[in-house]
Amino acid sequence: MVRVDITCDLMDEDETGHVWAFLRDARDPALIQPGAIVVAGDEDAPAVAEVVDIVDKPAGRIVHLRILPGLLEDYQAVIQRAVIPA
């Protein structure tokens, strides 16, 4: 089971070439800051992404996301290798 930080369609790109999402679709909007690494998409297709920026548009606050390479499981694996329990 995966819980994403911001729900979006990973295929939705706009003129910036980045994936866009409404900030209102963030689980915790405080997590969504430029430079933050988040999980985007939905539970069927989650992806690790970097928040590029947040822009104000009349329809709402739009979050631009840069989808990072690899699957969520790849990041989980690298953390398991790298983090040594105290």
């Binding site: 369609d9 295929m11 003129e15 548009k57 690899g70 699957l71």
Partner: protein, 144 residues
């Protein structure tokens, strides 16, 4: 911006020849009526076309034989999707869904008339069954 406040999509449409009916469309899946409705409404909430309400979902067309706009390139790019729908453009057109060449190549927006269940069901049928994305579970170095 329009007076309604939504963003006008027209300036972001590419001036290019429509893909032929045999072109493969890549849509991340598996799609459901609920997902299609949510994504179509998100487009509707953000954009209008020529000042009129717009419902749509994003897809990518395999326009090239090699490179990022090829089928292989797109499946690799969208490796986060364990399953993908791969209809031909002709299937979508025959079902009444035009493809708008929007934003950067090879992105397209499938235009819907609205978000009524009948139309969404027709789109889901036209997308066809979801197939496994060969790049989703490919063994990678370092994965255990």
């Amino acid at each position: 911006m329009t007076q309604r406040g939504w963003e006008e999509l027209r300036p972001y449409l590419r001036d290019e020849r429509p893909p032929d009916d045999a072109t493969i469309v890549v849509r991340g899946g598996p799609d459901t009526l609920a997902k299609l409705a949510m994504h179509a409404r998100r487009t509707h909430d953000a954009y209008v076309l020529d000042g009129e309400p717009l419902w749509g979902i994003s897809v990518y067309c395999a326009l090239d034989d090699v490179g990022p706009a090829s089928l292989d390139g797109l499946l690799r790019r969208f490796a986060s999707y364990r399953a993908v729908h791969l209809p031909r453009t002709g299937q979508l057109r025959r079902a009444g869904f035009p493809l708008l060449p929007s934003f950067g190549r090879p992105h397209f927006t499938i235009r819907l008339d609205g978000d009524d269940p009948a139309g969404l069901t027709r789109l889901l049928d036209a997308l066809g069954p979801a197939e496994a994305n060969k790049y989703h579970r490919r063994e990678r170095p370092g994965r255990r």
